[in-house]
């Protein structure tokens, strides 16, 4: 496509062209009307002057016959400006007047029209335009009364030229300016399109150039860049997710296969190894668990939940702690619960319970390694303004600030070896549950250790109760 064809193909330019055309037609209309009106006015004036002059001369003739007429014509001819006169006898010989003869272009009897004449006594034979009427005067005389219109014609000509030039200028400026403007916009849109094409070709890191003058195209570019950012994040997350799923499912699947093979061998040789089969079944349970977790997460993120009832967070925390207390004790971890009384949220008790147990589960897995008998997990429930907060804190290695946001994502396990059992969906489920209940999850530094806080809106009736909010935090999710 040539540059011009491309330009003509743009909406911006087409609009501009149409706009320009409309403007030119409107201008031409106005200018034409002015020209026509002016011309008409001048012509009208001339005709009126001629009329009144003819009338005056006729009166003179009626008063004093041809003699007086001749005298008046002679007088008027003497100090005529643009007035033209001719009084001729029957033989067309001039009696008086400033025209040298009867203008041949005029009809010889009565009637008017335009004619040309050479100004008598003027600067040598300059031919000029005039309008006039010829009148037959009784007695065989002919009277011509005319008016020089050369100046008027010249004025009209000048005006016409000015108007045409003006129109030309308007058209040229409009088209030229439009061309430049649309070329500029076109260039930037081309830039955007180019970026989009590179991105579609696979380079997700590309961004649309921003000029920085904050105009609408810049704002558009900003929004698009934001969108691209999100898409890139999603793509990266997607890739990570599929890698991790592959990893998490491949291990139990391959173990399952080996065990079944071994069971098959045992079956051939007579006895089936019950133990192999049982362990294979346990392996499939792990697979089912992961799939279930994925499905519930998908459901939660789609925004469906079961029955919501009024849940006392203190009781919920105590229940979860009760469930985990023997495990913690077995591992030598001190599990404590501190709960402000009477904090009620309207929630799906099962989901909240699952979220809290997930947090305790994580704390047991990652927050107590290598601490020996100092390991402790603290579950606390407190009010913070209109919110109730459940926090699970450990004293383990914590999560580095840079990793905190990532830690809340699906299938992300910061422990890269993925050696601990688990689906990697625990925290994302917590986030999904909190969101579903209009709350949020944040990760804080427990100094040392990690403190995960679920903040949920309190059931309205008692949100006035308040206690000092938690210490400095990095809110990574809202």
């Amino acid at each position: 496509m040539t540059a011009l064809a491309k330009l003509l193909g743009t909406t911006a330019f087409r609009w501009l062209l149409a706009y320009c055309l409309a403007f030119i037609i409107a201008s031409a209309g106005v200018v034409g009307y002015i020209y026509w009106q002016t011309n008409d006015l001048l012509t009208h004036q001339v005709v009126q002057t001629l009329d009144s002059e003819v009338k005056g001369l006729r009166e003179q003739f009626e008063l004093g016959g041809i003699r007086l007429l001749d005298k008046v014509v002679a007088e008027r001819s003497a100090n005529a400006g643009s007035g033209l006169y001719f009084l001729g006898g029957a033989d067309s010989a001039r009696l008086s007047g400033n025209l040298s003869g009867f203008p041949s272009e005029l009809p010889s009897d009565a009637g008017g029209g335009t004619f040309h004449y050479a100004r008598a006594g003027g600067s040598g034979g300059e031919e000029r335009s005039a309008v006039g009427v010829a009148i037959a005067v009784p007695g065989g005389f002919t009277l011509v009364v005319g008016r020089d219109i050369a100046d008027q014609l010249e004025f009209a000509g000048t005006m016409r030229r000015i108007l045409l030039w003006g129109l030309g200028l308007i058209a040229a400026l409009g088209l030229g300016g439009g061309l430049l403007a649309s070329r500029g916009i076109l260039g930037r849109i081309d830039g955007m399109r180019g970026t989009a094409e590179t991105i579609m070709a696979g380079d997700l890191s590309r961004r649309i150039p921003v000029t920085g003058d904050g105009d609408e195209l810049d704002r558009l570019a900003h929004s698009l860049n934001g969108m691209l950012e999100r898409i890139e994040q999603l793509m990266v997350a997607m890739r990570e997710v599929s890698d991790n799923i592959a990893h998490d499912l491949r291990t139990p699947l391959s173990r399952l296969r080996t065990r079944l093979e071994s069971a098959l061998r045992d079956a051939k040789s007579g006895g089936v190894n019950r133990d192999q089969v049982v362990r294979s079944i346990e392996e499939t349970d792990e697979l089912i668990k992961t799939f279930n977790a994925m499905l519930s997460l998908a459901r939660l993120e789609a925004g469906t939940s079961g029955e919501r009832t009024e849940v006392d967070l203190g009781e919920l925390a105590a229940g979860a702690a009760d469930l985990y207390e023997p495990v913690a004790e077995e591992r030598g971890i001190r599990l404590t619960t501190r709960a402000a009384p009477g904090l009620i949220v309207t929630a799906d008790r099962q989901l909240l319970g699952q979220a809290v147990t997930n947090l305790i589960d994580n704390a047991l897995k990652y927050g107590a390694t290598g601490l020996g008998e100092h390991a402790a997990i603290d579950i606390s429930v407190s009010a913070a303004g209109p919110l109730a907060e459940i926090a699970v804190a450990d004293q383990g290695a914590g999560i580095a600030l840079v990793d905190r946001e990532r830690a809340l994502k699906r299938f992300v396990r910061l422990e890269t070896s993925r050696s601990q059992p688990g689906t990697g969906l625990g925290l994302s489920l917590v986030v999904a549950v909190a969101r579903l209940h209009g709350g949020s999850v944040r990760l804080e530094d427990n100094e040392p250790g990690l403190r995960v806080v679920i903040a949920l809106p309190l059931t309205p009736a008692q949100s006035a109760v308040s206690s000092p909010p938690g210490h400095g935090s990095a809110r990574v999710n809202a």
Partner: protein, 226 residues
């Protein structure tokens, strides 16, 4: 035990029936809601396994119709996760238990057997006895061979549930549901530790163990004579 499986997935139903038969039960199959309702109304079955989504008549509607007709047969509802329905709805329609797909067969079998026992008389007994272990539901006293055993409230409820279903396999999920009212699986196997604590109290000092672990399935309390 006579079990009716109302399930439109023929392959799944086939496996289920086969497995039930292998476990010593008799199983029949209905492939849609209408046929299922008709068979169930005959009153021959001790347990119904009803899929939530069925052609011709929805699983919940089958159960509701049966309940309205005064049919008290225990019903286990099967439901695929991801559908916009929930356990509460299923139980409200008259189901007795609820299991999401994909489930493990041992889980299903344990639940079916627990359900069938429910239907038997003697539900409201005030005390349980397994071998020389006794549990009094009213006074909350537990004793073995006449020796009193002190249990935490949660341990008591755990033992109570196990003894109520003595001789039956009880899965971890069933314990979580009935003792803790948690209808989800925690990632760590917390139940095993609770069980081993309980076991330490009721079995350790005695020669004959009563609380058994059933590999790949769950736990069972039994004196081994049945």
């Amino acid at each position: 035990m006579r079990v009716l499986v109302i399930e439109d997935d023929r392959e799944a139903a086939g496996f289920l029936c086969k497995a039930l038969k292998e476990s010593g039960h008799s199983a029949e199959h209905a492939a849609d809601g209408e046929a299922g309702l008709e068979l169930a109304s005959e009153g021959r079955f001790e347990v119904l396994i009803v899929d939530r989504m069925l052609p011709k008549r929805d699983g919940l509607s089958v159960i509701e119709t049966l309940r309205k007709a005064g049919e008290r047969v225990p019903v286990l509802i099967l439901s695929a996760l991801g559908e916009v329905d929930d356990r509460v709805k299923g139980l409200r329609a008259g189901g007795d238990d609820y299991l999401t797909k994909p489930y493990s067969y041992s889980e299903l079998l344990a639940r079916v057997e627990a359900l069938s026992r429910r239907a038997q008389p003697g539900e409201a007994t005030t005390s349980y006895m397994v071998g020389d272990l006794t549990l009094d539901r009213l006074s909350h006293r537990v004793a073995r061979a006449g020796e009193a055993i002190i249990l935490q409230p949660r341990e008591f409820r755990l033992l109570e549930y196990l003894m109520k279903h003595a001789g039956q396999v009880i899965t971890r999920t069933m314990l979580l549901e009935h003792v803790w009212d948690y209808h989800f699986d925690p990632q760590t196997n917390v139940i095993d530790v609770h069980i081993s604590r309980l076991r330490a109290k009721i079995d350790k000092a005695f020669e004959k163990p009563l609380l058994h672990t059933v590999r790949g399935a769950g736990y069972m309390i039994s004196d081994g004579t049945r």
